[in-house]
């Protein structure tokens, strides 16, 4: 029997730090067994939201339920059933790969009889079987990230929180981690992943929640969000700054939706343009168009 209640449910959650409202009446649902991507620029409240799910930050208003437990009072029971991959690497660097996993097998209360098997399984997930005896400070950045993820999975959690899982990593390592996360999702683990990489959300998330200034500004499947907010095609017009301003003015007069990128002006819903559209390159609309349109910000 699948659990009918969602893995995570936030209702009207508010979190203030002094005068700053980091999370502002946020509603968020992670259906059981799905991957939800929390997509937003830096400072949108993603990390604060993740901290509230482990009761390391306490909401000022609203309701939070994780795996059927009400937070913050039952957060310990919830934490026992979930794994957290933090944005900042906090492995014990003077310990070996295996020792790091051993420590977390205790912290996550794995019974003695199952401990050895759990560590072996985590080593497989991280693909670090032959580096088990290496100290963490001898590992490459990619290996450390894999270990950080495997550490969060040592107790086979029903839910995994990933806070910017691939930030600062090179493209090969990033793809390797995507494969790992994708396998986790295929196996039925519920995932909440914060990211500001569009491609990451597009590839991995069943549902994307676009957050800006602590609020959810759009929710849906990536392809639906693109169709709804950015249409089918985009027209990129390149040129010197004066030319770009000119294009923007024309677009404003004609009511074409545009967004600026560093080197071009993008006219969205290009499929609706008549013959008098400026010269440019047509391409398929993507989630980045939606993101910039909704949050007004550029991304990496």
């Amino acid at each position: 029997m699948p659990d009918p209640s969602p893995a995570i449910r936030l209702r009207g959650v508010v979190k203030r730090y002094g005068d700053v409202t980091a999370v502002d009446h946020l509603d968020l649902t992670v259906p059981d067994g799905t991957c939800v991507g929390l997509l937003g620029p830096n400072g949108a409240g993603k990390s604060t939201t993740i901290r509230m799910l482990t009761a390391q930050a306490i909401a000022d208003e609203g309701e939070i339920q994780v795996l059927g437990h009400t937070l913050p009072q039952d957060s310990k029971a919830a934490r026992a059933e979930m794994g957290v991959v933090p944005q900042l690497d906090n492995l014990d660097v003077t310990l070996t790969v295996e020792q790091n996993l051993l420590v977390f097998s205790y912290l996550y209360r794995i019974p003695r009889a199952e401990r050895k098997a759990a560590i072996e399984r985590a080593l497989d997930i991280a693909n670090l079987r032959d580096r088990r005896g290496s100290r963490v400070d001898e590992l490459s950045g990619g290996m450390r990230r894999r270990l950080l993820i495997a550490r969060a999975l040592v107790h086979q959690p029903r839910l995994v929180l990933l806070d910017e899982p691939t930030v600062g990593l090179d493209p090969q390592v990033r793809q390797e981690l995507w494969a790992l996360i994708d396998r986790l999702r295929t196996e039925g683990t519920s995932i909440l992943m914060s990211t500001h990489y569009i491609e990451e959300a597009e590839r991995l998330a069943d549902t994307v929640v676009v957050v800006s200034n602590g609020q959810a500004v759009a929710v849906g499947r990536p392809s639906d969000l693109v169709a709804e907010h950015a249409g089918a095609e985009a027209l990129e017009v390149y040129g010197p700054p004066a030319r770009l301003r000119e294009v923007e003015e024309v677009a404003q007069v004609r009511g074409w939706p545009t967004r600026r990128t560093g080197t071009s002006v993008t006219i969205l819903r290009a499929e609706d343009l008549d013959g008098d559209a400026p010269e440019g390159e047509r391409r398929v609309a993507n989630l980045e168009d939606v993101f910039v349109l909704l949050t007004g910000e550029e991304v990496a």
């Binding site: 390391q56 310990k76 933090p86 310990l95 205790y106 396998r183």
Partner: protein
């Protein structure tokens, strides 16, 4: 990458309680495993410094003073520096270690994301430091034995006294690290609190010769009570030692609860 078999889902085992053993064990295991990589440095700094004090004062003053309160000076200092070793091996690791773990290494973020609460985290850290202090505290006494301190059965109590005192000082150190905004500010505490307490504790000279205000100060100094208790354990217990023990226990309990309170404020935002 070899795909491991589909994991069997773990079901929850009832609602966890406060201060539960599994959480304490988890934090302690982390410390014990980590200790394997730094125990030499830790044992060195925690024991060599008090031993230097013991030898310097023992021979330096020992040539001027032959007896203090009916004891040979080396016996007096040899038992007194047990408390110094306890203090140094508990309050400093607690202050610096805790600060480094929650500020720079973000270790506590990882632990609190697991089913461990701040109360359990602080308690386990203090217990661990106290256990180390219980061992390191005995070193000056063993060194003093090489210089003529006679063995006695009461010496077997010293590790336990050192543990109780170490728990208090560890909690105090964690409290300081939770209150301070920067690691540089620790020197204020070291200079204005720890150094005076260390000197006015009856370690190197009896407090009976001090002015009254200093004697009163010594009586509220937990380290003084530790010094007295260790000395009496070695040379013969008296009823007054219950007061020394009681004072140390109350100090430990108060520092422990305050450390939890302030750490919660620091870690849970």
């Amino acid at each position: 990458m070899a795909a491991p078999a589909l994991p069997a889902r773990r079901t929850s085992r009832g609602r966890p309680r406060r201060l539960d053993r599994a959480a304490l064990t988890g934090v302690l295991v982390r410390e014990v495993v980590n200790f394997g990589s730094y125990w030499r440095a830790s044992a060195f700094s925690s024991t060599v410094e008090p031993t230097i004090y013991l030898i310097a004062f023992g021979f330096g003053f020992g040539s001027l003073v032959s007896k203090v309160n009916g004891l040979d000076y080396v016996q007096f200092v040899g038992t007194g520096t047990v408390a110094t070793a306890v203090l140094f091996s508990s309050v400093f690791p607690a202050m610096f270690g805790t600060f480094v773990k929650y500020t720079y290494q973000k270790t506590y973020d990882a632990i609190l994301a697991a089913p461990v609460d701040t109360e359990e985290l602080v308690t386990a850290e203090a217990l661990w430091i106290a256990a180390r202090a219980g061992v390191f505290g005995c070193v000056p006494m063993l060194v003093a034995m090489a210089f003529g301190l006679d063995p006695s059965w009461g010496m077997l109590l010293v590790p336990f006294i050192a543990f109780i005192a170490g728990f208090g000082w560890a909690s105090f150190g964690i409290l300081i690290s939770a209150v301070m905004k920067s690691i540089d500010n620790f020197s204020y505490v070291t200079s204005t609190v720890i150094t005076p307490l260390f000197l006015v504790a009856g370690t190197f000279f009896p407090i009976s010769g001090l002015p009254q205000w200093a004697r009163i100060l010594a009586n509220v100094n937990p380290l003084y009570h530790c010094v007295q208790l260790v000395r009496d354990a070695v040379f013969g217990l008296v009823w007054l030692d219950l007061w020394h023990l009681g004072f140390m226990i109350v100090f430990g309990l108060v520092a422990w609860r305050l450390a939890i309170l302030r750490m919660e404020k620091r870690l849970i935002t």
